[in-house]
């Protein structure tokens, strides 16, 4: 099973049926796998804060959501994470491509990478970092944890995890 299929499998095992995405090159395979799966409603968003609004609504409507986005989105979504997801105590697994780490060819991505963990820490967002493919074995437990504690939870996935791109 490919890592993309494995991620989608863990989503389904945890009843995630509403996934919003803003694309990143590293995430192209998993986004394709989400789109291809009939049991998940895939709703591409134009901006990540919009996606978090969709996820908040879907969760209140009775579906378990998730968002797939790039780490640059942390800069876009701080207000939404704080005044919507956290303030109303809503669960939100965030599968995040951790651009700007080892293997990154685009220098500008490093500028956001150096702030990513600091921002997540400042926001008291539980954060997990997938560096090796085997790290994905924790995804199932992370998703269970997210829906147990009703918090946004970050899963950072770097270029090494995705075997470059």
């Amino acid at each position: 099973m490919s890592v993309n299929e494995r991620i989608v499998d863990d989503f389904k095992k945890n009843d995630i049926s509403f996934v919003t995405t803003v694309p990143c090159k590293q995430l192209a395979g998993v986004i394709d796998a989400i789109e291809a799966d009939d049991s998940i409603y895939h709703i591409p968003a134009n901006k990540e804060d919009e996606g978090m609004g969709l996820c908040a609504g879907a969760w209140m409507g009775g579906k378990r959501p998730a968002i797939i986005m790039q780490n640059t989105a942390i800069g876009v979504t701080i207000n939404t994470l704080v005044t919507l997801t956290q303030y109303y105590r809503m669960p939100l697994p965030m599968l995040i491509s951790y651009r700007g780490e080892l293997g990154e060819p685009v220098a500008c991505q490093v500028e956001m990478a150096v702030h990513t963990k600091a921002l997540l820490s400042q926001l008291n967002i539980p954060t997990y970092h997938f560096h090796k493919e085997a790290d994905a074995e924790e995804l199932d437990a992370i998703l269970k944890h997210t829906f147990m504690c009703n918090k946004p939870v970050a899963i950072l996935t770097d270029a090494t995890f995705w075997n470059g791109y």
Binding site: F18, A45, E50, G53, L54, G57, W59, M60, L84, R89
Partner: protein, 184 residues
């Protein structure tokens, strides 16, 4: 007619449905006029009323009305293509378009100048877009509810505010009782 008068007129029509209400004065006014457990008041996050409402509508079958403003739609412009391309026939987006940022002191918006949100919504691919005058809004909402078609209503009204208290309810209480109605 100003926004609070529009809300007063439509309150008896929307009270039996799920309502997601825009941040600031719209939520404070609706809370004062007709507080219902089926109302989800936004206390933060300007612009996301339509996104939250669409999410609720796509996740379950009850009818959902998002009350939004012209300023908030301008803030989250990407919402209109998403709505157009993810049709939920139990969803109504009511944009109360008074051409101003009401909650922050009535600064003019571009929607009150050259930009038509009705035409933007149509250009984004929304299929049932109705522009109406404030006085016509109750009937337009009744028709939209009866049509069982996703509808975008752009209600043109006057700019202006009334004094209302802030909402002091706990956010978790707001969403918990809202979810109780969803599940009922």
């Amino acid at each position: 007619m100003i926004r609070s008068e529009v809300l007063r007129e439509i309150a008896p029509i929307i009270r039996d449905h799920l309502v997601v209400c825009n941040i600031g004065l719209p939520s404070q006014e609706l809370h004062l006029i007709d507080d219902q457990p089926s109302n989800f008041y936004m206390l933060g996050t300007m612009g996301l009323s339509s996104s939250i409402g669409l999410g609720v509508a796509l996740a379950q079958d009850k009818k959902v009305i998002s009350i939004d403003g012209d300023g908030s739609v301008l803030t989250n412009f990407g919402t209109l293509p998403t709505i157009a391309n993810n049709v939920a026939d139990n969803f109504i987006l009511l944009v109360i378009d008074n051409g101003s940022y009401g909650s922050t002191g009535d600064q003019p918006t571009y929607a009150g100048k050259k930009t038509s949100l009705t035409k933007v919504a149509e250009a984004c691919g929304c299929e049932n877009v109705v522009e109406c005058q404030a006085e016509e809004t109750p009937q337009v909402i009744k028709d939209a509810l009866a049509s069982n078609k996703m509808t975008i209503i752009v209600c043109k009204c006057e700019s202006g505010n009334v004094k209302v208290p802030v909402i002091t309810m706990d956010p978790v209480s707001i969403r918990d009782r809202f979810m109780g109605v969803v599940q009922a």
